[in-house]
């Protein structure tokens, strides 16, 4: 039904409406960036104001798991790219395989993050210190974005299997891809700020 409706509009109208949606989606990502920016500013402000960092009794987060997790997430960015390449060249099976890979990698990242929260930071709580407040708020917000991204990918994958998107008409896929890469880029900043800096 959705597919039938999508093809009821002409190519020119689809291109025009997709153009509006693409710009709107980019604006949404910019405003989302501002939200991360706000909490990053708060983190740096509180860190700068603190006499010692991290606060006494708080362990630094464990670098190696986060490094592996980063590789997993960046790898998912690569698989997402190959998935879209498949769609652009009308290789449906390539799209499906790489999208499933992206979903699996994204879920692995979330699993790694859950393990970190529950096992690796026994003394760091959300409400305990400014470090915990910044760390859990920012990485949690990012994890929530990854979760939404995974859901987004599952939805567009199912839509693709039902034939909603074609080589020429796949704005939903473009949006999902942009969102996924956006979440990747945010992670670069968070990884640097919490695990290296």
């Amino acid at each position: 039904m959705a597919a039938a409706h999508a093809h009821a509009v002409g190519d020119a109208e689809y291109a025009e409406v997709s153009g509006h949606r693409l710009l709107g989606f980019l604006f949404f990502l910019i405003s989302d960036c501002v939200i991360f920016g706000n909490f990053i500013f708060s983190y740096l402000y509180l860190r700068n104001a603190a006499p010692v960092w991290p606060p006494v009794g708080i362990e630094r987060p464990y670098l190696y798991l986060a490094a592996v997790n980063s590789i997993v997430l960046f790898g998912s960015g690569a698989t997402m790219h190959y998935a879209m390449e498949g769609m652009r060249h009308d290789r449906r099976s390539q799209f499906v395989a790489y999208t499933i890979a992206t979903i699996v990698l994204g879920s692995m990242f979330l699993g790694g993050q859950a393990y970190e929260y529950t096992h690796l930071l026994p003394h760091t709580t959300w409400a305990g210190t400014t470090f915990g407040a910044s760390f859990y708020t920012l990485t949690g917000l990012h994890g929530f974005h990854v979760f939404i991204g995974v859901i987004f990918l599952i939805v567009v994958l199912l839509q693709t299997l039902r034939g909603t998107y074609t080589q020429e008409r796949h704005f939903g896929l473009t949006a999902a891809t942009l969102y996924w890469h956006f979440v990747d880029v945010i992670w670069v900043a968070l990884f640097f700020l919490f695990y290296i800096y």
Partner: protein, 553 residues
């Protein structure tokens, strides 16, 4: 001229209008209906918030009155500020005027995302209910800025959560509206409508939309921070656990200073539309006004800490923010000079919209000057948190935004309803508002300079006479709005029919019938030059010639 020849947008075909009551008036996707919904909802909140102000003035009629308890007084000023900024000012200037006029002025049939537009509107009543419902639990008492630690110390129960949630909802609504308007302006202008042919109201709305999108997203994050601090004890702002109350001031004002430009830029846009129409000359300095809007938009992100000069900033920070705050007066001054120069030797017709604009020019300039005074760090150290600040903010937000809103309402009322407002009642409304506005807020400068602090329920008897006078004036000021309400009621019932172009204006909204038909334009117009060249032929092709007529009066 055929439509396809000039490459019109493919989506320009006309859908049939909705036929059920719910789709037409409740969950409408039509930008014009949504605009009216905004006017009515925000107008109701204006009455509530105005009554809170009058309650405060009753309390302040004497130095030690017991009309309100101190706690209720604190709740009244907190909710008055909250409601006036977020539930009244911003929804009216962006949601109502932006929706009513902007799409038509660029020659579009609707905004880019009508469904999101409807969603934005329906967040407003939800936010209003959340904010006013906090009264039932004892509303927050730390002012509309809700500075920690005070906002966190008091036994607030659920109310701070409700307040955060309400403002968060209206913030998201504002972000969505900004995004929607920006895409509309970038993507949906009629053929020939280049950026430098856009009406100045569209320029103002575009810059406002940018500010709404960027700054308001930041507000959402800041409120989330306050919310989790309040509910889960996450110590962002708790100084006893390494947090920083000043951090809240930074993140709050990083939104809230751009927000005052969200409130005033559309009013600037309205003024820029009204002046050339009632002076019958091209606006002086079109590009200067347009680009100064953009300059104000950018500079507004570099001045936020001038609200925090007494909060313990570094000296270099104070200097930085003082200088940029003074610089932002320059593009504002460019606008004032351009408007005054347009008026100079014009064929001035003193109808109600122009009266409100002249009122705006005179009092907003005063508010701007006290703004520069407050920007000066040594002066601000004396004036901070005094009634001088209260006077300043009301000169720019009442004298600027509210007078601008009324100018716009009198100007576009015929376009919105198809009927004229009564001129005689309009002039009564204007003069009573203008005189009693000044009688209410001008004396506040003096008691402020003498040292009366703001946000107090009782005060030194030395200020009693002035405060009594201010209170009486404020009652008349509030009563003056009844004239407008009566005028509006009378106009809708049996006002004189307006015709498409009662003021003889030249922007696109006046080229279509009043009230505006569903889908605005039968054919998308083609724009040949800018909108303010009075004395030249109309710069549009592809519009019905019978509508591009001369004024009826």
């Amino acid at each position: 001229m055929s439509v396809t020849e000039v490459g019109l947008p493919a989506s320009s075909h006309i859908h049939p209008p909705p036929d059920t009551f719910i789709k037409k008036y409740v969950f409408s996707l039509d930008h014009k209906v949504i605009a009216v919904q905004y006017f009515i909802t925000a107008g109701l909140f204006l009455v509530f918030a105005g009554l809170l102000a009058e309650l405060m003035r009753v309390q302040l009629m004497g130095p030690n009155n017991h009309v309100l308890s101190v706690a209720v007084f604190n709740q009244a000023y907190s909710l008055h500020g909250t409601a006036m900024v977020w539930l009244v000012g911003i929804p009216i200037v962006t949601g109502a005027f932006g929706n009513l006029i902007m799409p038509v002025q660029i020659g579009a049939r609707d905004v880019a995302f009508p469904w999101l537009n409807m969603l934005s509107f329906w967040m407003l009543p939800v936010a209003g209910i959340l904010v006013f419902a906090s009264l039932l639990f004892g509303a927050p008492q730390a002012g509309w800025t809700e500075y920690p630690p005070v906002s966190l110390q008091l036994p607030l129960g659920e109310s701070l959560s409700l307040w955060c949630a309400g403002v968060f909802v209206i913030g998201v609504s504002s972000t969505i509206t900004g995004l929607n308007f920006l895409v509309t302006i970038v993507k949906m202008r009629a053929p020939g409508m280049t950026y430098t042919r856009m009406p100045l109201f569209v320029w103002a709305t575009g810059v406002t939309a940018f500010l709404s999108m960027i700054a308001t997203a930041n507000l959402s994050a800041a409120l989330a921070g306050l919310f989790i601090q309040h509910n889960f004890g996450v110590p962002f702002y708790d100084v006893t656990r390494g947090g920083a109350p000043v951090l809240w001031q930074h993140v709050f004002w990083f939104y809230s200073h751009p927000a005052v430009y969200i409130l005033i830029l559309p009013a600037f846009g309205i003024v820029s539309e009204v002046i050339p129409t009632f002076v019958r000359r091209p606006i002086f300095g079109y590009k200067a006004i347009a680009y100064s809007s953009a300059a104000i938009g950018l500079l507004s992100f570099m001045v936020w800490a001038h609200h925090m000069f007494t909060s313990g900033l570094q000296h270099w920070e104070q200097l930085f923010f003082m200088i940029f705050t003074m610089i932002i007066a320059v593009p504002t001054g460019v606008k004032i000079f351009s408007w005054v120069t347009t008026l100079w030797r014009g064929k001035i017709r003193l109808d109600t919209p122009l009266l409100f604009v002249l009122g705006f020019l005179s009092v907003f300039t005063l508010g701007g000057i006290t703004g520069v005074m407050l920007a000066s760090v040594p002066a601000d150290a004396q004036e901070h948190a005094s009634y001088f600040v209260v006077a300043h903010i009301h000169y720019v937000l009442f004298g600027g935004t509210i007078l601008g809103i009324f100018a716009g309402l009198y100007y576009w009322w015929p376009k919105m309803t198809g009927r004229m407002l009564d001129e005689r009642l309009g002039k009564w409304h204007f003069w009573l508002t203008y005189i009693f506005f000044n009688l209410t807020f001008l004396p506040m400068h003096w008691v402020g300079l003498l040292g009366m602090p703001r946000r107090v329920a009782t005060y030194d008897p030395a200020y009693a006479g002035t405060n009594f006078f201010v209170s009486i004036s404020s009652f008349v000021l509030a009563a003056a709005i009844l004239i407008f309400i009566y005028n509006a009621y009378r106009s809708v019932r049996h006002g004189e029919l307006a015709g498409p172009n009662p003021w003889g204006a030249r922007t696109l909204e006046w080229m279509i019938p009043s009230p505006m038909p569903y889908y605005n334009f039968r054919d998308i117009p083609i724009v040949l030059s800018g909108p303010y060249d009075y004395g030249k032929p109309l710069p549009y092709a592809n519009i019905s010639q019978d509508l591009a007529m001369t004024p009826v009066r």
